[in-house]
């Protein structure tokens, strides 16, 4: 009987542990913007419910194998429970239309507040030629006549020279192949 009691204590401690990790959220009954979509997935998994039930631990306690095997078994159950999420068993909290609208208002207000607190770098950087110290000087600078005249002469001469480029070949450019 002592053994059964220890087994029961073990399951109870596991259960408590899960309960305390679940209760870290502020208001469990009142869903807010930080509430998880899949609330309490561990406790809703069928494997855990089976392990939590009184009947199982009491009825099969006498047939439980040795301590090591039992530890391994409970570890298996625990791992399975963690990996399983029974979505169908969870109750979904449906929102009333008015509540839905209220929440939209509250969330958008909070977003707006946060948005105002953020420092927007793009606003301060707006402007043309910020990196040029005296851009007025350069923007008002006319193209000098010297430069245009030089460039005009240069392009004319260069174009003339380019069009005069000829290949002065010393051998025949087209070589006849000996086609039989």
């Amino acid at each position: 009987m002592d053994y059964v009691h220890s087994v029961w204590n073990y399951f109870a401690s596991i259960c408590n542990c899960w309960q305390c990790t679940e209760d870290t959220g502020a208001q469990p009954n009142e869903p807010n913007e930080r509430t998880h979509l899949l609330v309490d997935p561990v406790n809703h998994s069928p494997a855990l419910r089976r392990s939590n039930s009184d009947g199982l631990s009491n009825d099969y306690a006498h047939s439980l194998p040795k301590k090591d095997d039992q530890n391994a078994l409970s570890r298996l159950v625990q791992n399975t429970a963690i990996n399983m999420i029974n979505v169908g068993a969870m109750d979904c909290h449906s929102l009333e239309h008015q509540e839905y609208k209220d929440r939209i208002r509250v969330y958008s207000q909070r977003l707006h507040q946060q948005w105002n607190n953020v420092q927007h770098p793009s606003v301060s950087m707006k402007g043309l030629l910020k990196d040029v110290p005296s851009h007025q000087f350069y923007l008002s600078k006319p193209l000098s006549v010297e430069d245009t005249a030089q460039m005009k002469l240069f392009t004319e001469k260069a174009l003339d020279s380019v069009s005069h480029i000829r290949i002065d070949h010393k051998e025949a450019v087209v070589v006849p192949f000996r086609i039989p």
Binding site: L143, D160, S161
Partner: protein, 98 residues
């Protein structure tokens, strides 16, 4: 073959205030470069000239572009077949002259 073109560039690069000059072909590839100018500038120069030409698509006269930076300036012109780039520098003599 290209001796005439080279002579034209030599003459241009020898002009006062001129640092270097180059000529690029239609693809922006450098044909000849003389003076203190990187031949790789040819492609960028042609691209700038093409972008500037979009400002006035109906203009038949090719635009002359001048980029100022400190006491240096870069003059670019593209007349369709070739792109010419000239690097110029404001020297002490020309500064007093202006």
């Amino acid at each position: 073959m290209e001796t005439q073109l080279e002579k034209v560039l030599m003459d241009t690069a020898a002009r006062p205030d001129t640092v270097g000059a180059l000529v690029a072909n239609r693809q922006g590839l450098c044909l000849v470069a003389k003076g203190d100018i990187d031949p790789n500038v040819s492609g960028i120069g042609m691209a700038i000239a093409q972008q500037v030409a979009k400002l006035e698509p109906n203009s038949t006269v090719p635009a002359t572009i001048c980029l100022y930076s400190g006491n240096k300036r870069c003059v670019i012109k593209n007349d369709g077949r070739i792109t010419a780039v000239i690097f110029k520098q404001l020297t002490a003599n020309s500064a007093t002259g202006n």
